[in-house]
């Protein structure tokens, strides 16, 4: 085991971890550059890229005009030509203006060219609700993107993943979308000693438990962990599974956890209809139906455009209380708690 780097002992924010990931990538590979709206002089809309312009110059830290389609497409083109662009789309909400490039080009070019082309672009997007930003700035559309073959979708929820997922994404010859929940940027923690790289293949068990599996990702991970703590005081041992990647989904880890706990609650900040939570549910039905002791339950965002007022937004989003209730209801009805 290599000795832990000095930074591993220090406290750092999720934001610092992403910044350090970008800095390491830029230092380590001259093919890498960062571009997006206000990533340079402004320092990044969420201050992720603060200081990088001074360190790397404006050729590699590139401020773009407000032209999501043009600069995401330019990232795809530069990737086709052998570079390793990191494209920051300020938020997932604005990525809708670049959908043509992401869905029609990034996702298709390898297959449509019979394997002649690869698109090793990394697109970083802030996602999610919780900051009273109202409907147009609070989307969680990562599940939507996970629908698309040809894309890889990763969601760093921990400090370790914020620090190391970018390197894994840049190593991938395929287009990778990295969704950073805006609520997590200020979260502080420390890096796990000994971890220096992560993969984009596997889900992770963040808290072991025997009674129910809470399947989640992103900010909702912390709501699940909070719910698990509450439930533990009531004698219910909840396992918390962080999906980490939404495409591909790690069926093996999901199914093996649920086979042990025989109960699954899926917690997703996306809406429930036609959603990632529906996909996970279906896979459990397909692969673990006879091992379930109760129907799968879901805790998702209410089917409304996310509202502004604090009490309305909180009501709309998944919460630790709702998650805990869903678990209690499931175990009570199932009679196996």
């Amino acid at each position: 085991m290599p000795s832990a780097p000095p930074e591993a002992q220090a406290r750092l924010s999720y934001r610092d971890a992403v910044r350090e990931a970008i800095r390491c990538a830029l230092r380590g590979d001259p093919r890498t550059f960062l571009m997006g709206e206000d990533v340079g002089r402004y320092g990044g809309s969420y201050a992720v890229s603060k200081g990088l312009l001074e360190e790397f110059g404006d050729e590699r830290i590139r401020d773009t005009p407000l032209s999501e389609s043009a600069f995401v497409g330019a990232g795809i083109g530069a990737a086709l030509a052998g570079l390793r662009p990191i494209v920051e789309v300020m938020t997932v909400n604005f990525s809708l203006l670049a959908l043509d490039q992401i869905v029609n080009n990034a996702a298709t070019l390898s297959h449509m060219s019979g394997g002649q082309l690869n698109v090793p672009v990394v697109i970083r997007l802030a996602t999610g609700a919780g900051r009273q930003l109202a409907a147009q700035h609070s989307h969680s559309l990562e599940g939507w993107y996970a629908h698309i073959p040809g894309l890889r979708i990763a969601v760093p929820a921990t400090i370790d993943d914020a620090r190391y997922m970018l390197a894994a994404a840049l190593e991938s010859p395929d287009p990778v979308l990295l969704f950073e929940h805006l609520y997590l940027y200020n979260m502080e923690g420390s890096l796990t000693p000994g971890i220096e790289r992560v993969d984009l293949e596997h889900a992770a068990i963040r808290r072991p438990g025997r009674d129910v599996t809470l399947i989640t990702y992103g900010w909702s991970l912390y709501k699940c962990l909070e719910a698990a703590t509450t439930l533990a005081s009531e004698g219910i041992q909840a396992e918390v599974l962080d999906l980490r990647t939404l495409r591909p989904l790690d069926d093996a880890t999901i199914v093996s956890s649920v086979r042990r706990t025989r109960h699954a609650v899926i917690v997703d900040e996306g809406w429930r209809s036609g959603s990632l939570s529906a996909e996970v549910t279906t896979r459990l039905v397909e692969q673990a139906f006879y091992e379930l002791d109760a129907p799968v339950a879901r805790v998702c965002t209410a089917e409304v455009p996310v509202p502004y007022a604090k009490h309305l937004e909180e009501t709309a989003l998944p919460s630790a209380a709702r998650i805990a209730s869903a678990v209690r209801e499931m175990l009570t009805r199932g009679g196996s708690a």
């Binding site: 550059f33 050729e59 773009t64 005009p65 032209s67 389609s69 043009a70 600069f71 995401v72 497409g73 330019a74 990232g75 795809i76 083109g77 530069a78 990737a79 086709l80 030509a81 052998g82 570079l83 662009p85 043509d100 490039q101 029609n104 080009n105 070019l109 390898s110 297959h111 449509m112 060219s113 019979g114 394997g115 002649q116 082309l117 690869n118 073959p149 040809g150 890889r152 991938s172 010859p173 395929d174």
Partner: protein
């Protein structure tokens, strides 16, 4: 129209240009026929009438330059030097096609010739061209990116976003607008408040010229000049190629939107007839030369059809290959 188009035409050069245009014309006519025979399916957009643009432009570009094209790209692909066999096999959906039957008529790719499609979303190729050019700029290459698109693309946001980006970043992109006057069936003046397309590029401070796209020599000359300017001074350039599509938009188009007389008038100034007449008048070629080029094209096309028709299908078991890169294990 561009000035200084009177480049001295030699017999050898003129016959080369004519040969390329006749290959494309013959290829497209055969595709029309093969569609009727159900050998080719899906969408098929033919390039008849616009051959001078592809041939003139590709003559002026270099092998290291990157090319981005549209769904009406058979002519660009052939003029770029992609083997006719591979293109025809792709149209037949065969394993030996450029994209192993996964792309079809609208998605011809050849990475080795830096030919990046075959993009079937109008204006969707422009941002990619900007990215290819950005890579050339960052890698200090003298190569440029040539991006073909039609007049329909001018109405799309991606056109405006990309011209602006290319201009402020001084990207080495040559924008080649093939203005054939119709976006499918919608005439330019019914879709555009400003029908002077070259003027739109000037609004982004990009040097821009309108070119007689029916005259292959004018096209070659203009692309040469523009490419030189990009290589020497950096920054993008824009050429509006004024051309015309002789056939329908696709195989499902009864052409209700234009008069037969209009098509006939344009056919009279078609790129092949114009060059042939000019060369004959200058004593640079004979009717025999013309017949020989016609025969050569027909033989090549026959061989391509034979190749495509006898090629294997991609195994259905390989359906999911190439969705993600295949890593060496």
């Amino acid at each position: 129209m561009s000035a200084g188009t009177e480049v001295a035409l030699t017999r050898e050069h003129g016959l080369e240009l004519l040969r390329e245009m006749m290959r494309i014309r013959g290829f497209e006519d055969r595709c029309y026929q093969l569609y009727g025979e159900a050998k080719i399916r899906g969408f098929l957009h033919l390039y008849n009438g616009e051959e001078a643009v592809a041939v003139g432009a590709m003559r002026a570009l270099r092998p290291g330059d990157a090319i981005v094209s549209t769904y009406r790209e058979h002519g660009h692909a052939l003029a770029r030097g992609i083997p006719m066999n591979k293109i025809m096999a792709e149209l037949f959906g065969r394993q030996t096609g450029c994209s192993r039957g996964r792309g079809g008529s609208m998605h011809i790719f050849d990475a080795s010739r830096r030919f990046y499609g075959g993009n079937a979303i109008v204006a969707g190729g422009l941002p990619i061209a900007a990215g290819l050019a950005l890579a050339q700029q960052l890698q200090r290459q003298s190569d440029i990116t040539a991006c073909f698109f039609g007049d329909g693309a001018v109405a799309e946001g991606e056109f405006h976003e990309t011209l602006n980006l290319a201009s402020i970043w001084k990207l080495p992109v040559l924008f080649l607008c093939e203005n054939n006057l119709y976006a499918m069936g919608t005439a330019l003046e019914r879709a555009q408040a400003e029908t002077d397309i070259a003027a739109k590029a000037r609004a982004y401070r990009i040097e821009s010229t309108a070119v007689d796209g029916m005259d292959v020599s004018s096209v070659e000359h203009a692309v040469n000049n523009a490419a030189d300017k990009i290589r020497n001074q950096g920054g993008p350039a824009f050429l509006e190629m004024r051309t015309y599509r002789f056939r329908a938009h696709s195989m499902f188009d009864p052409q209700l939107y234009r008069e037969k007389s209009e098509i006939e008038a344009w056919r009279k100034k078609g790129p092949i007839v114009t060059l042939t007449t000019r060369m004959k008048a200058l004593g640079l070629m004979t009717e025999e030369d013309y017949r020989r080029l016609e025969d050569d094209a027909a033989s090549e096309i026959d061989a391509a059809v034979q190749f495509a028709d006898s090629s294997p299908w991609e195994p259905a078991a390989d359906l999911e290959r190439f969705v993600y890169a295949e890593r060496a294990s």
